[in-house]
């Protein structure tokens, strides 16, 4: 097209260089905004209702066992110096608690999201790299060495692992029948299969892999003794350990302890009287925390959370109201018909 030499400096005539690119130019006109708000409002109300009902149908049974009140059965265990204390809490279900039922322990005012706490672990150790067994990373400090021996697993998170244990009994005709907790498969698949790895056994002995190291100071057992009965649930692959290591985002949290799925309880927990036996080890009173256990079932939207449903309902309604307001304003001012640009 260009005649050579004559218009050498002439810019190219393309849509791009001439800023003529075809474009969609939407505007916030009444025809779009008002229907949009109405539609969103209605959709939100719909979703809100669904969420609300779903959430309402989720059953939750919470039991606080911190033992601050003197009347509380766990009061005697909450003292600082008491060791190996067990307490029991009774509760009754008037109707079937539909399964699968999940059993959580919950802590409050517990700052797992504290920055220095969060970094206090050694990912290499936890992925089974034995070179870091003897030389834990400095993040773990001050839980890096204990009596000049490297701590495995090192760091604050591991050290502070929750160590209360629970047993649930159903009272049938005055006798206790244990309701089994399934503690397997409560951690994320990726944590169990990828992120955390046990060290390879040395001379056939798993424990020997931990030679030259010591257990975290707060632990009663070593990592390789967490579940001696099941090697797949032992060491760093212990599900309770994995659940604990996935630290919570907020200072009040609950963590999965076990599922009630087996045998007689596949339909859920039947109505009746129950006793929860708690082996009370974990001190929380010093920092004003509380401990609780939660029985809950789930829905498609996860655990019970009223907020989402209510928020959807409120915002949906607001949208509809807003749509009406905008309609009135539009009817009154009628831009752009009144323009004189």
């Amino acid at each position: 097209m260009k005649s050579e030499g004559e218009f050498v400096n002439q810019p190219d005539n393309t849509a791009f260089t001439q800023q003529r690119l075809p474009a969609w130019q939407p505007m916030l006109s009444a025809g779009i905004v008002i229907p949009l708000f109405t539609l969103i409002g209605l959709a939100f109300i719909g979703i809100g209702v669904a969420l609300f009902i779903t959430s309402q149908n989720i059953k939750v049974q919470e039991l606080d066992y911190t033992g601050t009140a003197t009347s509380s059965p766990c009061f005697q265990c909450s003292g600082l110096s008491i060791q190996n204390c067990t307490c029991e809490r009774n509760f009754s279900l008037s109707e079937l608690f539909e399964g699968p039922v999940f059993f959580y322990y919950g802590l409050s005012n517990y700052y797992q999201n504290y920055r220095q706490y969060g970094v206090s672990k050694d990912d290499y150790q936890l992925s089974g790299d034995t070179t870091y067994f003897l030389k834990p990373q400095s993040y773990c400090s001050p839980y890096q060495y204990s009596n000049n021996k490297p701590i495995v697993p090192c760091g604050s998170i591991a050290n502070s692992m929750f160590n209360d244990t629970f047993r649930l009994y159903l009272l049938v005709n005055g006798s206790r029948k244990q309701v089994p907790f399934d503690g397997k498969g409560i951690a994320w698949w990726t944590d169990y299969n990828i992120k955390y790895r046990n060290p390879s056994p040395v001379n056939g002995s798993f424990a020997a892999a931990f030679d030259g190291t010591t257990k975290p100071v707060n632990w009663q057992k070593s990592a390789y003794e967490l579940d001696p009965t099941d090697q797949a649930n032992n060491g760093f692959l212990n599900q309770d350990f994995l659940v604990w290591m996935r630290r919570a985002a907020l200072p009040n949290f609950r963590k999965l302890y076990g599922r009630i799925t087996g045998g007689d309880y596949s339909q859920g927990l039947p109505a009746g009287n129950y006793t929860l036996q708690i082996s009370y080890n974990y001190p929380v009173l010093s920092f004003g925390g509380t401990k609780k256990v939660v029985f809950s079932n789930v829905s498609w939207m996860g655990g019970k959370n009223q907020f989402l449903g209510i928020a959807y309902l409120v915002i949906g309604s607001l949208c509809v109201v807003m749509a009406i307001v905008m309609l009135i304003v539009y009817a009154k001012y009628k831009f752009p018909d009144n323009d004189d640009a």
Binding site: V8, I40, Y111, R115, T190, A249, S296, M301, Y330, F335
Partner: protein
């Protein structure tokens, strides 16, 4: 044409002020010993080896980068480090690299300049120069060399043997003054302004001249006059600096709040939490607070918009390219595209309030054309004429009337008289290099046009001697005896010649301003007068400059008598001027009117339209010209700046304000500045005449200083350099002879009319884009950062980040970089045609409406709101909830992923809301960025990445485990809508209740789109009723003396010896321009 014998100069870096300059001709060693500046002007900063270290050093001096380094150091302290080092290093490296690349390419441009002062000239010791480049005056000037050097001739050997020594003043910027001495063979001669040629003038009608260079490069008066080169910053830059300071303050406030919070928390909770928290010995609450302060400085550093600077540079560069690429600002005739020479000022183009324009070469083409004439009551000049019958015709000349040609051919005596007058009554110098190849050298283009007209109609002015004028009249050679030239001056406003024709008739020919001529007409021509007046009105209505022509036959005896008295007067020692004027007055009476001419001072294409458009955009245009008042005024009318209805036009001259019903010109006076400014700003149009280059700059500075408005200066010559540099934005007219203006300009293009496109389209868009960019950029960074602030209250103020570190690293660089660049490169509220159609769209820029402190506060509040939503909605939604298989989802990593996904979706939707113009690129960038976010997130959280870089990617599996949950998506959806819907509602209501001009035009466009595109604007030609007549071209006085003295005529070589004594030279009287001086205070500024 000129050769330079030796060049020398003063080194600019020398600290001692040079008092005097000492040079010796043809003695290079001697001259070099002074280390004077040479002609090369070096602007390149680096070479290959120094580039990297020097540039890095410079970059680290910048506040932003230094801040980066400071952060990096903080991050290396383990007790403080709340983020990994890479979050700072990666952006820093990127910023450094981009800046490095940009500085590198910018530096590969350098300029060289040349020529200087010269003191010897051609045989007759006279050179003609045009100084338009220098001072904007369009007429020729004459300079004369010393006789002693004039003798040297063009013999190279003699010249080479010349051994004069020069002592002269140090470099300065006075164009009209020079003092020095030349010592030749022991004799000392004075050198003054008349003996030197200044850099920037153009030799005319001069074959050769030799000179001695006195000043070179930066020492030349032109360069000294061109003002300081300052690094220009836009008003938004300045605002940003203020805002950045504010943001630092904000950062300090937030960090302090959080640090105090941390202290309290540590005091109340932390101490009792020791069972689980890692705690070093000796840490107390206060110290912890202190550390937390610095940790939060690291985390919240993203409020300080560091990558902003890089992005701003990129988008300005992009918008500059759009200017370079614009075909509608490309001039086909000269093959000159527009050029954005400075790439950092674009958005300021959208904020111009004052335009300062040069006249000659910018508004006008500096070409006069003879358009119409009225001869003996008959008007000519409607249709095109073929001049092929006249072999001596100037081929470029065209005139539009056959009737006139017929009249000439038929020998109508009036028509002949008319053209005879034009051929005789002038001071033009002819030059005939080869037979038939005539060149006229006129002191003003007006005169040139008239003589050329006569020539084309068969009255060819051919040669001139002091006593004769030879004219070829219809092919017959006739030589007139030139008896007297009654020269032009400002008061007389006319000139006459008295000639004796070969047949012995004595005639006085006179041309001049119509009113002046009319007063001196013989009563018998009242009838012609009437008709001619009508014609004059008509011509004036077309914007032409008119002259009335008259003649008078003289009586021999009467003339002799007059001549004696004239001689008496011209040799009088006292009041010579007045006496001469009186003598002239005597003879210039009872004239017979021949007719009138109408000359068009050709405007550049589209000038009136452009000015009208710009005026509609509420841009004030001031014309600053070195030309005299009449010329300027005339141009003011013809280009629409002055209109008939402007009755309140007045002149301020020197220091007295006269309420003349005219227009505005003025002289600046020291304590008069404010008064002047106040007056001038009340005027719709301001025209300043007779301004020196430096004064132009001072006017600009004055407006800049007191009006706080954004100014633009446009000019084409070296005399405009100072104002181009002084204004916020300097525009040079390119594609012409001089490059001075272009070289110092920020933008350049070939035609004045492109200015409207530059401002109304590019400027408008650039401003819009820049403001949108800034608003959005601050919004997204604040929203991003404030979430950390809220999270502080829930994590023991431990400086725990809400997001993944990788997300923090990539947020500005990858995830949100491109969509906003796309927006700020392509967005347009309306397309270019509509932008031109509605110049009112320009107003928001002038008023700084789209980005100011108020908008900034609004952004701050908006992001506060958004960040609250962005934190608390996920917080509430995730509180105590679990996955649908009962497993954990309220863990930190899932929460981080949720928060960052929400954030990214929200800022992208917000961007979508801000986008007016969705091109494919915008879509691609927006959706691409979102996709890239998910792609990168899934990759970084994948098994492979964890297995390879175990400690760097601890978020393994988070994406898979959390993003497959419906409640997570419902939360994202809720958060997004909650952030965006109020904005939509608010904007909608604002459009309804208080629509801006922008809204209105956009709606209009939308409605019109279905119907038809905007019609191109039509500008009806205005009719002007007031006549403006006169020698609008000459200033000071004509060259009548010179013509009759014969001094400046080309003579055979033998006459070289006849050198006139210096004192007698009429040129000595042709004194240099004395400019009304601007106040001393102003000069210092």
């Amino acid at each position: 044409m000129d050769s330079v014998l030796s060049a020398c100069g003063l080194n600019g870096k020398k600290e001692k002020v040079q008092e005097e300059r000492h040079l010796r001709a043809n003695d290079r060693e001697f001259n070099l010993s002074f280390k004077y500046a040479n002609n090369a002007i070096k602007t390149s900063k680096y070479n290959i080896f120094t580039f990297l270290p020097l540039n890095l050093f410079e970059q680290f001096q910048r506040l932003a980068n230094a801040y980066f380094v400071f952060l990096l150091i903080l991050q290396l302290i383990p007790a403080i480090s709340s983020l990994s080092w890479f979050t700072t290093v990666v952006p820093l490296l990127l910023v450094l690299c981009i800046t490095l690349a940009k500085d590198g390419t910018d530096d590969i441009v350098s300029a060289v300049t040349h020529i200087s002062y010269l003191s010897i000239s051609e045989p007759l010791n006279l050179v003609y120069i045009e100084t338009a480049e220098l001072d904007g005056e369009t007429n020729l000037k004459v300079k004369q060399a010393l006789t002693v050097t004039g003798d040297l001739g063009d013999n190279i050997d003699t010249l080479a043997a010349f051994d004069g020594e020069v002592h002269c003043e140090a470099p300065n910027n006075r164009l009209d003054k020079f003092t020095g001495t030349l010592t030749v063979q022991g004799e000392t001669y004075a050198l003054d302004n008349e003996r030197i040629l200044l850099r920037g003038c153009t030799l005319r009608n001069t074959e050769w001249c030799f000179g001695l260079v006195l000043f070179g490069g930066p020492d030349t008066k032109l360069m000294q006059n061109s003002g300081k080169s300052v690094f220009k910053r836009t008003s938004i830059d300045h605002l940003m600096n203020v805002l950045v300071l504010f943001i630092f303050g904000l950062l300090a406030c937030m960090c302090t709040t959080l640090a105090i919070g941390n202290g309290i928390w540590e005091h109340q909770q932390g101490t009792s939490f020791t069972a689980f928290l890692p705690r070093q010995d000796g840490a107390n609450a206060a110290f912890s607070g202190f550390l937390s302060f610095w940790s939060y400085v690291i985390i919240l550093n993203t409020v300080v918009p560091i990558s902003l600077y890089v992005s701003v540079e990129i988008l300005r560069l992009g918008n500059s390219y759009f200017i370079d690429w614009d075909r509608k600002m490309y001039h086909t005739k000269t093959d000159t595209p527009a050029q954005a020479r400075t790439t950092t000022l674009n958005e300021e183009l959208g904020q111009i309030k004052y335009i300062f324009s040069d006249k000659t070469g910018t508004l006008t083409q500096n070409i006069m054309t003879f358009n119409r004439c009225s001869i003996n009551g008959k008007s000519y000049g409607e249709e095109k004429v073929d001049f092929s019958w006249n072999s001596l015709a100037d081929t470029k000349f065209c005139f539009h009337d056959h009737a006139l040609v017929e009249a000439v051919k038929q020998g109508s005596s009036e028509v002949h008289a008319f053209f005879r007058l034009l051929a005789l009554c002038h001071t033009v110098m002819p030059e005939e290099k080869t037979e038939g190849q005539l060149f006229y050298q006129a002191q003003s283009p007006d005169e040139g046009a008239l003589v050329t007209a006569a020539r084309n109609f068969g009255f060819v002015f051919r040669t001139r001697t002091p006593e004769t004028i030879s004219v070829v009249e219809m092919g017959i050679n006739i030589t007139y005896e030139l008896l007297a030239v009654l020269d032009f001056n400002n008061v007389r406003k006319r000139m006459s010649v008295i000639v004796r024709s070969p047949d012995g008739r004595l005639t006085l020919y006179c041309k001049g301003a119509d009113t002046i001529i009319y007063e001196r007409l013989h009563p018998s021509c009242s009838k012609v007068m009437e008709v001619t007046t009508e014609h004059l009105n008509e011509y004036a209505g077309e914007g032409l400059r008119t002259l009335a022509l008259a003649y008078k036959d003289l009586d021999e005896a009467e003339f002799e008598q007059w001549r004696e008295r004239h001689h008496e007067a011209s040799t009088a020692l006292e009041d010579r001027e007045e006496k001469l004027d009186a003598i002239y007055e005597e003879i210039e009476k009872d004239l017979m009117l021949i007719g009138a001419t109408a000359v068009e001072d050709k405007l550049q294409d589209g000038v009136p339209q452009t000015i009208e458009q710009l005026a509609q955009a509420d841009i004030k245009i001031w014309v600053l010209t070195g030309d005299k008042q009449e010329t300027a005024e005339n141009i003011g009318y013809s280009c629409n700046m002055l209109r008939e209805e402007m009755t309140e036009v007045f002149i301020i001259a020197a220091d007295t304000a006269e309420g003349v019903k005219e227009e505005l010109a003025y002289g600046l006076q020291k304590d008069f500045q404010l008064e002047l400014l106040r007056t001038a700003c009340m005027c719709q149009t301001v025209i300043c005449c007779r301004v020196t280059p430096l004064q132009k700059a001072q006017v600009v500075e004055l407006v800049k200083k007191y009006k706080k408005a954004v100014t633009l200066a446009i000019g084409d010559g070296a005399n405009d350099v100072s104002m181009i540099k002084a204004a916020h934005i300097g525009v040079g007219i390119s594609g012409q002879e001089g490059m001075q203006a272009v070289l110092s300009s920020d933008f350049s293009f070939a035609q004045f009319r492109y200015l409207q496109r530059l401002l109304l389209v590019h400027g408008h868009w650039s401003y819009l884009r820049m403001c949108k960019f800034l608003c959005y950029f601050f919004y997204k960074n604040f929203s991003f950062t404030f979430v950390h602030f809220w999270y502080g209250f829930f994590c023991g103020f431990s400086a725990q980040t809400v997001y993944d570190e990788w997300f923090i690293t990539m947020y500005n660089l990858v995830y949100t970089a491109l969509p906003i660049i796309g927006l700020s490169l392509f967005d347009q509220d309306v397309n270019d045609r509509w932008s031109m159609q509605y110049p009112q769209l320009y107003a928001p820029g002038q008023k700084n409406q789209y980005f100011n402190k108020m908008t900034f506060v609004k952004i701050l509040l908006h992001s506060c709101y958004s960040s609250l939503i962005l934190f608390f909605i996920p917080y509430a939604a995730m509180q105590d909830t679990v996955r649908d298989d009962g497993k954990d989802i309220a863990d930190y990593q899932s929460f981080a992923l949720l928060a960052q996904t929400c954030l990214l979706v929200v800022v992208n939707v917000q961007l979508g809301l801000d986008t007016y113009y969705w091109t494919a690129v915008n879509h691609f960038f927006l959706w691409g960025s979102l996709s890239v976010f998910f792609a990168i997130t899934f990759t970084m959280y994948s098994n492979g990445m964890y297995l390879i870089f175990t400690s760097s990617f601890p978020f393994i599996g988070t994406a898979r485990n959390s993003l497959n949950q419906p409640n997570v998506w419902l939360t994202i959806f809720l958060t997004t809508l909650l952030c965006v819907l109020p904005v939509v509602a608010l904007r909608f209501l604002l459009i309804q209740l208080r629509p801006t001009i922008n809204d209105k035009v956009r709606y209009k466009v939308r409605q019109a789109k279905a119907v038809l595109p905007p019609p191109p604007r039509r500008f009806p030609r205005r009719r002007i009723s007031t006549r403006r007549s006169g020698y609008a071209f000459s200033h000071a006085r004509g060259y009548g003396d010179l013509v009759t003295s014969g001094r400046f005529l080309r003579r055979p070589v033998k006459t070289r010896l006849t050198l006139f004594p210096l004192v007698e030279s009429p040129l000595a009287e042709n004194s240099p321009q004395t400019y009304r001086s601007i106040g001393e205070g102003a000069q210092r500024s």
